[in-house]
Symmetry: none
Subunit: 216 residues, 4 copies
């Protein structure tokens, strides 16, 4: 009865653990991952998962909201720490790729309204756009960002690039995304600085690596 109140932080700990686990599970197993699998890998019982998130949509919503906060934090940190707005923009776009947001791919149809149409998500998106807007405006002022590229374009590009290439071996997929990010950034640049020439990724190399990594 007179519990000394020591396991009070546990619930919050569990909540975060479940969200982190769910993001990984959805990223790796795709949208077909089951609630039981999430609970099992999080090391909790199914009942505990459902205590925190009353249904599947609720869990997905939490993962999305959490990801949105991470993106906001990423943008804020980039804006604060980078001297040049272009570098902040570049850092943000590159950073988003590390969020394991492949979950986005599992959201479709009517589910979108249920999990991504809440006030919390909408408000988060507004906050993210606000921060990005500051970066984009500053980048325009710097003359580094093409004037016909707006904040909305940045969001669109990020939305496309954060997701992986699940049909490819993980390492190859990550590198292709890395390179695609560079191409997009180059396309956004007002007067692209003559980027130091790199090696192109040839078809032969792609095929070679595809086969090589499939072996491992």
């Amino acid at each position: 009865m007179r519990a000394p109140g020591q396991l009070r932080a546990d619930a919050q700990r569990n909540r975060e653990l479940i969200i982190d686990t769910a993001r990984e599970v959805f990223a790796e197993q795709g949208p077909g991952a089951t609630m039981d699998e999430v609970a099992r890998l999080a090391g909790v019982g199914a009942g505990t998962l459902y205590r925190h998130f009353p249904d599947r949509d609720s869990l997905i919503h939490a993962v999305l909201a959490d990801a949105l906060e991470r993106m906001i934090a990423l943008a804020q940190k980039a804006r604060e720490e980078e001297t040049w707005a272009w570098d902040a923009l570049s850092r943000f776009v590159r950073g988003c790729a590390g969020l394991r947001l492949d979950l986005l791919i599992s959201v479709a149809g009517a589910q979108v309204h249920r999990v991504a149409g809440t006030p919390e998500i909408n408000e988060g998106r507004v906050r993210l756009l606000e921060v990005l807007d500051q970066i984009v405006s500053a980048a325009h002022d710097e003359g580094a960002l093409r004037t016909d590229v707006g904040t909305g374009d940045v969001m669109g590009v990020v939305g496309l690039l954060v997701r992986g290439l699940p049909t490819l071996p993980a390492a190859l997929g990550d590198e292709l995304r890395e390179r695609a990010v560079r191409l997009v950034l180059a396309g956004m640049r007002a007067h692209p600085a003559p980027s130091p020439p790199e090696q192109p990724l040839t078809a032969e190399e792609l095929t070679r690596r595809f086969s090589a990594e499939r072996e491992s």
Copy 2:
């Protein structure tokens, strides 16, 4: 005797009909779409669907293989009909977005090996890379394509861009992808022609359209 032939139950016709329907259904409803729904929208019984594709993986594989053929045809047509390789490349990248390949994004985990690891798919990928390689090489020769952008990069970019943005209203998602394609193409250009200034997509506009289209 001279039956007007109105009920021709053609198995091959059915097979193609099912694949086309499945691509649309998966693109619209996500990977959670039921087999019965695919069958219903294709106008056939569940048994017919399963006669052609013994299980769900088999159907997904067929959709992927069919999509690969479409991409190959798209690349070949672009190469043959465009005078400049750069235009062919641009046409290919833009064209892929119209293939409704959102299905690609729902394949993950062990399923990848089952549906995208067959000889048929591997051989198709090789053929696609061959055609693309010719276009990329010619674009290099034209001096239009950055020398550090290879065929593999094109494939990676296409893989990322063909997919939709399911969390956004369809029309908005399509436009964002359109614009992202233009950015990528700009980034690939060796000496980007001074593109006629357009309007940037601002955060305000993005938010406005997001809300507006969600209403409809």
Copy 3:
């Protein structure tokens, strides 16, 4: 139009072919065997099978009726060709084991009334009992058959012995049945002739053969 009437016997040929195939398929694959499998192994289309037997019960009924006729023929032949009634009885019991009637095991519950309750089957059973009755009576008169063993007992024993031991390797199952038949016949004998001593089938031998034949 003026068909010379040459493929008239084909239908009857097909009918017998299907019955024979069905008996084998049910004996080997158990009651779970599908109609398609029967049709395939019989080398006909599903439509042909259904032309002869409008539904599954109809096919099973035909197999049972056919088997009954075979048993009757077996009993008549034994009665006519054997000098001693005991030998005829013995021959009949042994012979039934070769009819592959494992199908009987798949008939249960309400299905029994549908497939084994027809006038044709009932009439066939009466005819079989008549023939057996003659043999049994004669065997009683010979003094070879225990007086407390009647025709009904013979039928019961046959019903139990005609079926195989599906959980054992085929050859071992057949031999066990062979030996069981001998034991039953010995038990029926009024004053059992001192049967030439054989080797008993020991547990070691049973285990050895079970393992050995499972390998092949």
Copy 4:
């Protein structure tokens, strides 16, 4: 506090309940009985059945393994409680008929390897043969069992006799099996004691009872 304990949801209890129910259902309705029917008659949901037995084969395997244990217990009890080995043997053979093992007869083809080829079953069979071997040896020593009848013969005979005669009314089928067991035991006897004369089961009586019980 001192709850009278009336709703104890015990998983182990459920497991045994399901096995018992399945044995009865398969015995009565044949192998075509549905899983839902088993669950319904066991008073549990389909999900509970599948939690305990992931598929149909798993359930059948459990029923077989359980039946094997019952046979072993039957043999051990008979050996311990009977003074004469012959009586133990007789008791075992008669007792097996009461195990409702008709399920055995529905297992065929590839299913045999899946449900009866596990180490658990194999080890159980070995244990059963060991106990039976002791009884058979002792019966040989008593001079009661024919020397050419081994443990393997006993198993074969039991395997054939435990099953019912599904095409006959239940009561008639049971009696026929009863009588067949007596015949087999008589056949196994070294010097059969002059069994008190009983009434033979005549063809007329068989037909009469067949019709009579079909009415009820």
